[in-house]
Symmetry: C2
Subunit: 348 residues, 2 copies
């Protein structure tokens, strides 16, 4: 069997991380990389990633996607360019028409049925017409606050209520993330930012809540989100931002899902820089109330960057094996690390 | 769409628990129950379980499986009679030839490839010939020390080593379990029991270790198990057994899986009555060493009885939807509680 062929579309922190991971795996080749930034175009991926190429062929970065995405020119395209389904839709259309499977890490693509039901229908139709599978995944949405919650409920006879929390440290992230979370702002500017949409917080609550609700069979008829400033009592600083005491260290973004006036799903995701400076431990937490109750914790939290990169790559065999259509993490087998030859995971 | 039709073969603590759970669910009917014990034969399941039957038809327990398992007489048979694959094999053959899907909670059936590869091949062939799916599941093996471990590694780029531990309380269980775990014995008699096979400990380590190894692509070439007495420093007692101070409160059963002389998987499952009497908290713990490291804990442990009952029932839709063959928890979508109509989960 030939090696599995992968194209990477988008070569920022996530796309380049996927490339690095793939180049350490057996039975899989990267057959194309697309990045628009002119300073990368024409460069060899091995040089950019500072990896030994050995006797492997160079992989030149292109800005012309149509020079690499051609009919069945790969088994999977990993798309790592957007957060919103509508922004990534033209890319998905192009890849689908070339009959190549798609894995997207756009947060909304983890469950496009939540906010873009019409586009979800179009993708499902496109996928079936072209006999491919389209999947959205990532650490969150895609795992911690949805798939892992559901997996734990697999051991429950009944579930009444779910609470889940992801407390993480934003310190490793860059300026764009700091801006979106309102880090470094005064409380007043943060509040204004929430109103005018410049302080976004986490992208993915409607997706996680719908995925959990649909997965369990709750009829969620109302989703509410709140974004509050995490005010720092100490000075905090990273390479990208400085927070004065009294200003905003991050965004406490929470969301609930109701069924017929009763909150069935309650999620929180406070994201800030250097939480330990005020004694805040980080972690992922899930509480299921039902029969039985389940109290799970992962400390520290599963890191967002590595987790998303790994999920996208680890789902490649499952996407190749899947029946055609738009699929979610609920439809496919459980993701797992791939320490052997990736080809061994492909069903004949 | 008609309700999903389920037959339950074996009506002890597990089988009757599945019946109770199913009778509380929508879109599913129990169409037959088989139990050999003459004091149950001919009785109505609703009476035995002390449940209101309402306007539902009675379900009379039979000891004649062939009176209920006929060609396509149900969508799934839940088999809850055995621990070992070879003991349950004739039952599987009978159900398969009648073209009905099978879910078994026999511990070895969680991964029959581990200890019964020839029977696993026969089952896969049988399943494909009869266009059905055969699945083994349960809380452990089936979830805590294997599927959940693998699910967490889905967020990892690399995995070097896995340690997992399930520390539970045996107090709710009956005399047979106490005997198999050596509870109440002197240390000397326990040690003799381990040698002559009367003290068994946990059934399922080879299955969990192979499942994790195969799931990750480790080439596990050696599995070793140890069974040691948990000596009590206090008096402990349940309805079924009394443990004098200095005698055995349970069995600390451990197992390792090696690849080429290196331990890659290390599991422990100390089972005892009243662990809290000596300050021992119960819980499920998973430590992944790789990129990233993951430290997970569930406290207290997911209860074994309820967990196994729920896993078997919650996998029904996935088994009906699956392609034909012998499947494991690695092949099917993640289990989840079913709070809606079970028919909504069946793919058209």
């Amino acid at each position: 069997m030939e090696n599995i062929k992968v194209i990477i579309w988008g070569f920022g922190a996530m796309g380049s991380g996927m490339a690095k991971m793939l180049l350490n795996k057996r039975g899989v080749d990267i057959v194309g990389v697309c990045r628009r930034n002119p300073s990368f175009v024409g460069k060899d991926v091995y040089d950019v990633l500072d990896l030994q190429r050995g006797d492997r062929a160079p992989i030149y970065i292109t800005d012309d996607i149509e020079s690499i995405v051609k009919e069945k020119s790969a088994d999977v395209v990993l798309i790592a360019t957007d957060s919103h389904t509508k922004d990534t839709m033209d890319k998905i259309r192009l890849v689908a028409k070339n009959k190549i499977n798609i894995i997207s890490i756009a947060e909304e693509m983890a469950y496009p049925q939540a906010q873009e039901p019409e586009l979800a229908k179009e993708m499902d139709k496109l996928a079936k017409e072209n006999d491919i599978t389209i999947l959205g995944t990532g650490i969150n949405p895609g795992f911690v606050l949805d798939l892992l919650v559901l997996a734990l409920t697999g051991t429950c006879e009944e579930v009444d209520f779910i609470k889940a929390s992801r407390v993480n440290d934003l310190s490793p992230f860059g300026g764009t993330v700091m801006k979106g979370q309102g880090v470094g702002l005064t409380e007043e500017v943060f509040t204004k930012g929430v109103s005018d949409g410049t302080v976004v917080g986490h992208v993915g609550f409607p997706e996680s809540i719908r995925m959990v609700g649909d997965g369990l069979g709750f009829k969620i008829d109302k989703i509410e989100e709140t974004r509050e400033p995490i005010i720092s009592n100490v000075e905090r600083e990273t390479d990208h931002v400085k927070v004065e005491s009294g200003n905003v260290a991050g965004c406490r973004h929470c969301a609930t899902g109701e069924e017929d006036g009763v909150i069935k799903i309650d999620m929180e995701h406070p994201q800030q820089i250097h939480p330990h400076l005020e004694g805040q431990e980080t972690g992922d937490y899930i509480w299921v109330r039902g029969n039985p109750d389940i109290n799970m914790s992962i400390q520290p939290e599963i890191p967002g960057g590595t987790g998303t990169i790994a999920m996208a790559v680890n789902m490649i065999p499952h996407v190749i094996n899947s029946r055609a259509g738009l699929k979610t993490m609920l439809d496919l087998p459980v993701p797992r690390a791939i320490m052997g030859d990736m080809r061994d995971l492909i069903e004949k």
